[in-house]
């Protein structure tokens, strides 16, 4: 299996998978514990509007996605802070509008047949080296911000009201978190596509949460799990000639069910043991 590494595209794919796993583990943990999975889904899909804009105006579709994702994350953040009770509806509307804008803009782009599949399901095998040089500093910024404000993020995630009372600027921190989520999502779209973003963002942290005792440990374990899923999925997709993004997600999905079943057996063993006593 090692001979595949002689190909540049495979080496890039592996590196991209690792870089994405790091941001996925960190940001995914924040997404799961802060219950902003729906917002993240909204950001991922609305980002498609940016892809269309990129094609229409002739600049990088991923730059367009980054612009759209950041903008939408700010709007969704403001809405969820202001009108909590209808935030989910507004997020759903923005989700759909973003996608529609993307499709229409691509329709309007003359003489251009876009391979939509690569944006919907990712194209990890086509990551150019230049993209890796964008992913690396992004990981660095996310790591730096989370390390620097670790105790503040813990407080915000565990008990937002108390965090406010002890003087933490919770709204600013929340918006920073959403901004970082938006940029990570654009990175993840490169690997598994916008439809599958949520799975890679939530499955590793969801598993990690049960086996860790702090948010920091959860982030580390989620990153490691994400890397395992990405690399084994990538290898399987190469070996069996399958769509890489979907294969990575299925591997993660198998992991998800495996740990759920393990959990179930463990808790059953415990309760039947208690019954015997």
């Amino acid at each position: 299996m090692w001979e595949v590494l002689q190909y540049d595209f495979m080496r890039n794919a592996l590196l991209a998978g690792l870089l994405v796993s790091i941001s996925c583990g960190i940001i995914g943990s924040l997404v799961v514990v802060n219950r902003i999975v729906f917002i993240s889904g909204g950001i991922a899909h609305a980002a498609f509007g940016g892809v269309g804009l990129g094609f229409f105006c002739g600049f990088s579709p991923f730059l367009g996605a980054a612009i759209f994702a950041s903008g939408v994350s700010l709007i969704m953040g403001a809405v969820s802070l202001k009108s909590k009770h209808r935030a989910d509806t507004i997020i759903g509307v923005l989700w759909a509008i973003g996608m529609a804008i993307g499709i229409i803009l691509i329709d309007l782009t003359p003489g251009y047949h876009v391979d939509l599949m690569s944006y919907l399901f990712g194209s990890i095998l086509a990551v150019p080296t230049a993209d890796l040089w964008l992913m690396l500093p992004l990981d660095g910024v996310i790591l730096l911000v989370v390390i620097l404000f670790y105790k503040e993020f813990v407080a915000l995630s565990y008990d937002e009201q108390f965090a406010f009372v002890v003087g933490i600027p919770v709204k600013t921190l929340y918006m920073v978190m959403l901004g970082m989520t938006a940029l990570s999502i654009v990175m993840i779209i490169r690997v598994v596509g916008l439809i599958l973003v949520i799975a890679l963002l939530t499955i590793p942290p969801f598993i990690a949460e049960k086996y860790t005792r702090s948010l920091g440990q959860m982030m580390v374990l989620a990153s490691v799990l994400g890397a395992c899923f990405t690399i084994s999925g990538l290898w399987l997709s190469y070996a069996f000639d399958l769509t890489s993004g979907a294969t990575i997600i299925l591997v993660a999905g198998v992991g998800f069910f495996f740990f759920q079943v393990m959990d179930f057996i463990k808790s059953k063993g415990k309760s039947s043991g208690a019954n015997r006593q």
């Binding site: 105790k151 503040e152 995630s157 565990y158 009201q161 406010f164 009372v165 002890v166 003087g167 005792r213």
Partner: protein, 258 residues
């Protein structure tokens, strides 16, 4: 000390109105609480007690009227106050130890982006010992019972070294023995800090508090540890409970309407 901050009343509310959507929760609340007081806040469920607390913490903003806490706007005073929430069953799968929850209280004295200082851990330890949870310091918070969790949240609030401490039914879930424990050290803390606690327990009112306020849309304040007839007249649903619980007579004032 001539500092107006320290001589200002603990709480000053003037003509405060608040509503969710269109239905008013609080109407024209006006009262002053001096520093060093120990206020027991009673009132029917849905009467606005917790909302009032949220206004004092700066989490909610009033529609009308002014609120001052220790002479400052609530959101400016927040680092000087402590808070124990009513609901302890939030985020129970969140991976965090008892010690780390208690340490969160030290955020009030620390700077953003800085590590906790060496002084912070001993303070968290002291508070956890006070509430009898030091032995469980490494346990995940979600594995504790509701009552134990409530003790940890009380420790967390003590660690903030508050000048004024707000508690929202702090003993709703703990066992009765520990309940009097909590109030004993709240009484001790009261020598340095003002305390405001929401409670349904009239026993607490008779034994620990210095003054009483009844909240049901508006607020009636009584500068002694008595439930007045006026409070009962204000559609306070508890007189039946009072009798049923067999409270000491001295809790109810004998003088009629003021």
């Amino acid at each position: 000390m001539a500092n107006p901050m320290t001589t200002a009343p603990a709480i000053e509310m003037k003509g405060v109105w608040f509503s969710y959507d269109k239905s008013p929760i609080l109407e024209n609340v006006t009262f002053t609480l001096k520093q060093g007081d120990f206020l027991g806040m009673i009132g029917p469920n849905g009467g606005g007690k917790t909302t009032l607390l949220m206004l004092l913490l700066g989490i909610l903003k009033p529609d009308r009227g002014t609120i001052r806490v220790l002479g400052e706007a609530p959101h400016q005073a927040r680092r000087r106050v402590g808070y124990v929430p009513q609901n302890t069953d939030f985020n129970n799968t969140f991976p965090i130890s008892v010690m780390d929850v208690a340490l969160m209280g030290r955020l009030a004295g620390s700077r953003m982006g800085k590590r906790f200082s060496p002084r912070d851990r001993p303070m968290a330890e002291e508070a956890l010992r006070k509430v009898g949870m030091w032995d469980r310091r490494n346990a995940p918070i979600g594995k504790l019972s509701g009552g134990q969790r409530q003790r940890v949240l009380i420790a967390r609030a003590l660690v903030t070294e508050p000048e004024i401490l707000f508690l929202d039914e702090p003993t709703a879930k703990v066992d009765p023995e520990f309940e009097s424990n909590i109030y004993d050290f709240l009484k001790e803390l009261n020598r340095q800090a003002t305390i405001l606690t929401i409670t349904h327990d009239v026993g607490v009112i008779s034994r620990y508090v210095k003054s009483v306020a009844c909240v049901n849309r508006t607020l009636i304040y009584h500068e002694e540890a008595e439930i007045t007839h006026e409070m009962i007249d204000m559609a306070y649903a508890c007189p039946v409970d009072l009798v049923a619980h067999g409270i000491p007579h001295r809790v109810l004032s004998h003088h009629g309407k003021e």
